[in-house]
Symmetry: C2
DNA sequence: GATTTGTTAGACAACGTTGTCTTATGTGAG
DNA sequence: CTCACATAAGACAACGTTGTCTAACAAATC
C-alpha cells in the first residue's frame, strides 16, 4: 500500500536535528531540562521542515482534545449566532476550538450530536437543550464532562445554567402595555413545553392576574409555528377588540408584523405591539418596534467563561445558575410616541 | 498520580467479553471475519459498559479526523450564520463534524486559525478568506487538505470557489435605478480591497459608464466602517441633489437607513434606495426595501458538497468555480409602488 | 580522588484504536 | 486419512505524541 504522504512528524524533526524524539518534544513544549542551544537547534529544524504538531496525537496522549462542543437548535437564528460567536472568542482565548452542531430542536438529533461530541473527547459542552428534562444529558455526566446549559436550564440536575429573566422581562413588557390602558392583550408565540416559553407565558399571566383582569381576557396562543392564517383569524375574532399584541419570540414577531401589514392594521395606532427579541431593523420600522432584547453575546460569553472555570478548577464547586437581565427598549410600537 | 477516571475502552470490552482486542474492534466496525454470535456478544458487553469509541484514537490511527474546519469573518453576521448552518447539515450527513472559527476579517488571525485547524487534522476546509491573495492558504496546500473558498475566490490558486454574481447583481440594481430616471446615484459601503467589494463597485461603475453618464456623477464611497456623520455629510453636500443610494452591504444599509431617518428624508420618495443584502424585516419596512438577496444557505450547502466530493474523490479533478445567482426583490424603496 | 548533585539527553512505554500477519479450528476434496 | 482451504480469532505493531525512568556527563562537594 502506498503510504499516505503526510507532513513531517516529531520523529523526522528529531532525526534531522540529530536528537532524540523526547528532546524534540521538549523543544516543542518549552519543557524544562533542555539546553537553550539544543532547543533553538531543534526549533530551527522544525520551521525548516514545516513541522506541525498533530493535535489528535496530543489529545490522545494527554486525554484532552482542546475542543469544546456546542449544540444549538438552529445556527441561522441570530440569537444563537451571536452567542456562538462569543463562545468562540472565549474559547480561542483559552486555546480551545469550538465544535459546533445544531439539533434543529429535535431531541433525538440532539442526543446523537451530543454522543458524537463526547466521542470526540470534547473537554466541555455548552448546550441550548431542546428539552429541559435531564434525560438527554445525564448519560454524559458519567462521562465526566463539564456541561453548561444555555438559554434554558436543565431541571433536576446539577448542571450550570445561564439564562435570562424571561418571566420578569415579559412582566415588564406586559405592565407597560397595561399602563397605556390596553386591556385586551394577546400573548402569542410561546412553545409551552420549553422553559423559555412557559416562563414567558407565566410572566404574562401573572401580570394580568395582578392587574385584576378577568380571566377571560387573558389571550395566550401557544404554537410558535403558527401559519399566517391562524394569526389572521385570531386578530379578527377574539372576544372583542384586541388592544395589543405581545409576541414571545422573534419568529412570531415577523409573522405577526407581516399579517398585520396584510390586514392593513397600523401598528402603534390601530394595535400596539411589543416584541420579545430585537431585530436589526426594529429601530427603523415605522413605527419603530418596542422590544425586549436578550443579551445574546453576553450569554454566550458568560456560558463559555463559566465552562472554562469549571474545566480548570481542581475542586468541584456548587452549581451555578446565572440569570442575565434583558433590556427593554421603548420605541413607538407600544403606543409611545418617540421624541427624537 | 491518580489515574484519570475515564470511560471504558475497547480493551475493557474485550476482557469483559472474553475475546481479543482485535475481535472487539471487529465487532465495533462490522468488520468481516467475525462470527455473528461473537459480534452480538461483544456488542452486548459494549452497551452494558456504556462503551464509547474514542474518535481521537481512531483519527490518529486512520489519519483522518472526520472533521472539517470552517473560517468566517464574523459568525454573528446573518449571511455567515446561514451558510454555516447549511455546511453543518451537509457535514453531518457525511458523518463529519464542523470546527468553526472566526477571523474577524483579520488576516493574521485567519492564518492562526487555519494553522490551528490543520494541526487538528481537519479533513477539509471551507474559508471565507479575509484577503483574496493566495499567501494565506498556500502553505496548507502542502498539507494536502482540500480547501473550498467561499464568498470570495482565492486568486492565483487552484482552490475551488463558490461565489455569487456580485458584479451582475449590482449591475441589475443600478440599471433598475437608472430606469426610474435617477442619475445621481451613490454607491456606498464597498471595501475595495476585498473581492466582493471591488466586484460590486465594478458592477456599478460599468453600468454608469454604459449609460453614458459623465464620470463626475459616479459617486462611490468606499469605506464600509463609515460613521454616521460621514454619511450625513455625503448626503448633504454632493454635487447637486442625490437621487438614489445603492448600499453595497448589509451593515451599510443599516447605517444609511438610520441616518436618513435622522435627517427626516423619506426613503422611496425623497431618495431611492436599493440594498445589497436582505434583512428579516426588509419587507415590513415602510417603504419596504428593494434588495439583492444572496443565497447564503445555498452557498454554504454547495461549498460543503463540493468539499466532500473533493475529499472522497480518488483522482484529482480540475478547479471548480461555482457562481450562484442572487435574487432581486423589487419592493418599494427603489421608487416602485408595490401593489399588494 | 571519590562522591554527590544537577543538568541534559535518551530509551521505553503508554494513550485507544486499527492494519497486517499468523494461528487455530473445522470442512470438504482427493 | 491427509491435504488444501476457508473461516474465525488472536498477537503484534503502528499512528504521533508525551510521561516516567534511567544514563551520561560535568560541576561541585568532601
Amino acid at each position: 500500500m502506498l503510504k499516505k504522504t503526510n507532513g513531517p512528524t516529531l520523529v523526522d524533526v528529531a532525526r534531522e536535528a540529530g536528537v532524540s524524539l523526547k528532546t524534540a518534544s521538549r523543544a516543542l513544549n518549552d519543557d524544562p531540562g533542555i539546553a537553550p542551544a539544543t532547543a533553538k537547534k531543534v526549533r530551527t529544524v522544525m520551521s525548516r521542515l514545516g513541522y506541525r504538531p498533530n493535535e489528535l496525537a496530543r489529545g490522545l496522549k494527554g486525554r484532552k482534545s482542546a475542543a469544546i462542543g456546542m449544540v444549538v437548535p438552529n445556527l441561522a437564528d441570530p440569537f444563537s449566532a451571536s452567542a456562538v460567536q462569543a463562545v468562540q472568542e472565549v474559547a480561542r482565548k483559552n486555546g480551545h476550538v469550538v465544535v459546533l452542531t445544531s439539533s434543529g430542536g429535535d431531541e433525538l438529533l440532539e442526543r446523537e450530536e451530543l454522543e458524537t461530541l463526547v466521542r470526540r473527547q470534547v473537554d466541555g459542552l455548552i448546550i441550548a437543550p431542546a428539552d429541559g428534562r435531564t434525560s438527554t444529558v445525564d448519560s454524559f455526566i458519567s462521562a465526566n464532562i463539564p456541561v453548561v446549559s444555555f438559554d434554558r436550564p436543565i431541571s433536576n440536575s446539577n448542571i450550570d445554567s445561564i439564562t435570562v429573566t424571561n418571566r420578569d422581562s415579559v412582566r415588564e413588557a406586559t405592565e407597560h402595555l397595561l399602563s397605556h390602558g390596553y386591556r385586551r392583550i394577546l400573548a402569542i408565540g410561546a412553545r409551552p413545553h420549553l422553559y423559555t416559553g412557559s416562563e414567558r407565558v407565566a410572566g404574562y399571566v401573572s401580570t394580568m392576574k395582578r392587574a385584576h383582569l378577568k380571566k377571560e381576557t387573558y389571550l395566550v396562543e401557544n404554537e410558535s409555528d403558527l401559519d399566517p392564517e391562524v394569526i389572521q383569524k385570531l386578530l379578527k375574532k377574539g372576544p372583542g377588540k384586541l388592544d395589543a399584541i405581545l409576541t414571545l419570540n422573534g419568529i412570531t414577531t415577523m409573522l405577526v408584523l407581516r399579517v398585520l401589514r396584510q390586514l392593513g392594521k397600523r401598528v402603534g395606532s390601530d394595535i400596539a405591539l411589543i416584541s420579545f427579541d430585537d431585530f436589526e431593523l426594529a429601530e427603523i420600522l415605522t413605527p419603530s418596534l418596542t422590544v425586549v432584547r436578550q443579551p445574546a453575546a453576553e450569554l454566550g460569553r458568560r456560558a463559555a467563561e463559566l465552562l472554562f472555570t469549571r474545566m480548570q478548577s481542581k475542586k468541584p464547586f456548587p452549581r451555578q445558575e446565572i440569570v442575565l437581565s434583558t433590556t427593554f427598549h421603548i420605541r413607538e410600537s407600544c403606543g409611545c410616541t418617540q421624541n427624537i
